[in-house]
Every structure is written in C-alpha cells, then in structure tokens.
Symmetry: C2
Subunit: 208 residues, 2 copies
DNA sequence: ACGTCAGTCTAACAAACGATAGGTTGACGG
DNA sequence: CCGTCAACCTATCGTTTGTTAGACTGACGT
C-alpha cells in the first residue's frame, strides 16, 4: 500500500518548512468544503483526512483539535473573501461602484470553485469556546463593508447598520439557492442585489 | 424512579387518540429548538428525547427515524410561518402594506419564542433522501411571497424572482445576528428591510 | 373482571465519533 | 554514514451515535 509516506520535499526551499504549510492549505481547503456542505458536527475528521489523502490521526499533527481546525478554516475563508473584496475595490471611483465591485467579489468568492466558504454558519454550542474568535474574524469583514456603505448618500430613515446586515444577508443567502447555470453568474446575483439597492438614494421617495 | 409512564389521559376525548398528537407536538417543538440550534447532525435523538421528557427509544414510537422527524419539524415550521403570514395579510390593502405585514409576521415567527425555525438550513447530504420533500415545503412558502411581490410596481430592470430571494434572504439572515434587545423588535427588523425596498418603485431612478 | 393496545422504558447493538500514543519513513545537515 | 526530526501511519481508547427488540404499565371497551 504505497501511500506517499514520509516527506516528499524535492528541490525544497531551505530554512523554514514549506511542505507543512502546503499540506495545511490542502487540509484547510478540503475541510472548508466539508464544513460548508455538512456543518461543523456533520463533517468528520476521518472524512476530512480522507479528502486530503491522509488518515484521521495525521490531522492532529497540523491542528490540535477539530475546533481549532474549524477556526483556522473560518479565518482563512474570511480573509480570502476580505482580500478579494479589497483587491476588487482598488482604484474604483464612486461609492456605489465600489460597493458593487465589493459585492461581486464577495459573491464570486463565496459561490465559485468549491463552495469553500462558511460565512453563513450559525455556530453550534459545540463551538462556544472559540465563538469569540470566530465573531472577531467576521467583524473585520463587516467593518470593511461599513466603510463602503458610509459614503453612500442614503435617505435619512435608513439605519446604516441594518443596511449592512441587509446587504450581506441578501448576498450570503445565495449560497443556499445558487446553482451554477448558464444564464446566471455569481456576479449577476451580486449586481442584481446592488441594482435593487441603488434605488435607495436620498432624492427618491418610498412607495406607500 | 417514577417517571410518568403509561398513558395519562384524564377526561380524554373519545374516538381517536389525542394524547399521541399532543406528544407529537411536544417532540416537534423541542426537536425544532435543537435542530435550529445545533443543526441536523448536531442534535441527537437522546437530547431531543430528554428535552421532551422521554428516553431516546420512545421517540421511535412517534417517528420512524431521525430523518423523518426532521422532515416533520421542517414541515411544521414552514406551515407555521406560512399560516402566520396568511393571517397577517388578511384584509390588508395595498401591495406594499401587504408585503410589510407578511415580512413582519415572517420575522416574528422566526425570531420570537424559542428560535424554533429551521428555514435557513442548508441541507447536509445526510438528508439527501428526503431533500425533495423539504424543498417542496419551502417552495409553497416561496410561492406565497411571489403572490405578494407580483402586484408591486417595480422598475423594469428588477427580476421578480431575484427580488423574492433578496427579500427572504435579508429577512432570514436575521436569525444569525438577531438577539432580543430593548431597542429593536423582530417587527422593527422586518419594517426596515421593507422600508429599504420601498424605494424600489417604478418612478424612481437608481443611483449611479 | 379481563383482554387489548397505546405509550413508555430498558437494555443492548454495531457503527462512527474525536482523540492519543507510539511506531515508521525518508529527506536532510553534518 | 549517521543522527535528527518533520510528517505520516497504525492501532486503539472511551464515548456517543441512531436504532431495535422486548418488557412493562395503565386506561380503556366490553
């Protein structure tokens, strides 16, 4: 059963180990998919290990516990989305154009590839110990959107905090229903959400 | 250990057994809370049984399996929300007023009491067998909202299907972040969501 | 008074779970 | 060539999981 055992570093960068970091990323990726699909308790360490090409015990070399692994996955995913958003709004002018660019990047990162994100998770009590850390990760991303919403000229009866929750709620809900099809891309979804919200501007009057 | 054993019917309605139906409702309620809090795999049959005042084996007298129990819970919850919405819009005039009444009822049922709802669940593969039935339940409620959105006079660039997903996404996302506090009720949340969307009307022009 | 039967408990099953301890491998520096 | 150590495997632990079979209990109709 010649599983690839031992270390396989070939030309190898010296000094610090990059082989371990590589594996860590693989595990993070596979665990991300499984956590997103099955939830925290639904995904088992054995499944995650198997998906990475490892055995369950080997995971504990890289992560101290299942909780710790989840935190790492969640953190990596938020950072991923956050950086994609930051990259997307770089150099874009106009408050609404910036928000739209952010929404598109946010949506694309969430919906493309392997549904690797776990943003919409309602944390189970099993994660109560690490909950603060998870919330903090999410908060950073929330602040980023706050900074995009702040310059918008919204009507006075709009609460900017609830507005942010509204935007992210509408965007994130797509992970539930979205299936990649020919006639709608993740960007289309994001554009429509922002397209709707563009009507919420200072000059306009609400329907009665 | 005098657990209440046997049956306890007192004055008892004759004919069909109403004691069993009562228990069923209890189980549905407790299971609803636990499924909502911990997810499908996170909530165990033993916990559910204990919360109802039973032992795990006794659940199988009322429900054939955990899957079946989940389907029943999900179905009951959707029906609950749906009926609350139907009751709320009864006699209300005006397309937007009707949608707002619906949103309030939807939100209140979701957020009050014991967070008993499981609308936002992304079904794990463990539920693949019963997935069609779950989706069908959700679809009925979706059609109800469709009928409320249809009479709205929306700008031509708005896709009514995406608009419904937008509304429900924004509303449902509240179950993640909402905590009952003094200065905001579930109805306030719903009103704000609809308040935002009221700006999306035919006469208005979007921000650029 | 008696049999029936709904409803619950008891006790147990195999399987899967997270986690651990210790052995094995092979690339590396000296 | 040898010792070191990162990276992985093996085997196993105790617990919990969903589920089942069968015994029990007490209210009911007759």
């Amino acid at each position: 059963m010649a599983r690839s055992t031992g270390r396989m570093r070939k030309d190898s960068e010296r000094g610090s180990d990059a082989g371990a970091a590589e594996r860590r990323k693989q595990i993070l990726t596979e665990a991300g998919k499984l956590f997103a699909a099955r939830g925290f308790e639904g995904a088992s360490m054995r499944e995650i290990a198997a998906a990475t090409g490892l055995l369950s015990g080997s995971l504990y070399y890289h992560f101290a516990s299942k909780e710790e692994l989840f935190v790492a996955v969640y953190d990596a995913n938020i950072r991923m989305v956050s950086e994609a958003v930051r990259r997307a709004i770089e150099g874009v002018e106009g408050a609404w154009a910036r928000l739209e660019a952010a929404a598109i990047a946010h949506c694309e990162t969430l919906l493309t590839g392997d549904r690797t994100a776990v943003l919409d998770v309602k944390f189970p009590p099993s994660l109560l110990g690490v909950r603060p850390r998870l919330i903090q990760s999410r908060d950073e991303h929330d602040r980023l959107f706050d900074s995009l919403i702040e310059p918008l000229e919204l009507p006075d009866d709009i609460n900017r905090n609830l507005f942010r929750l509204h935007v992210l709620g509408a965007l994130n809900s797509a992970v539930i229903w979205y299936r990649p099809s020919s006639h709608m891309s993740p960007a289309d979804v994001a554009r429509h959400v922002i397209g709707v919200l563009r009507y919420v501007r200072k000059g306009n009057t609400p329907a009665t």
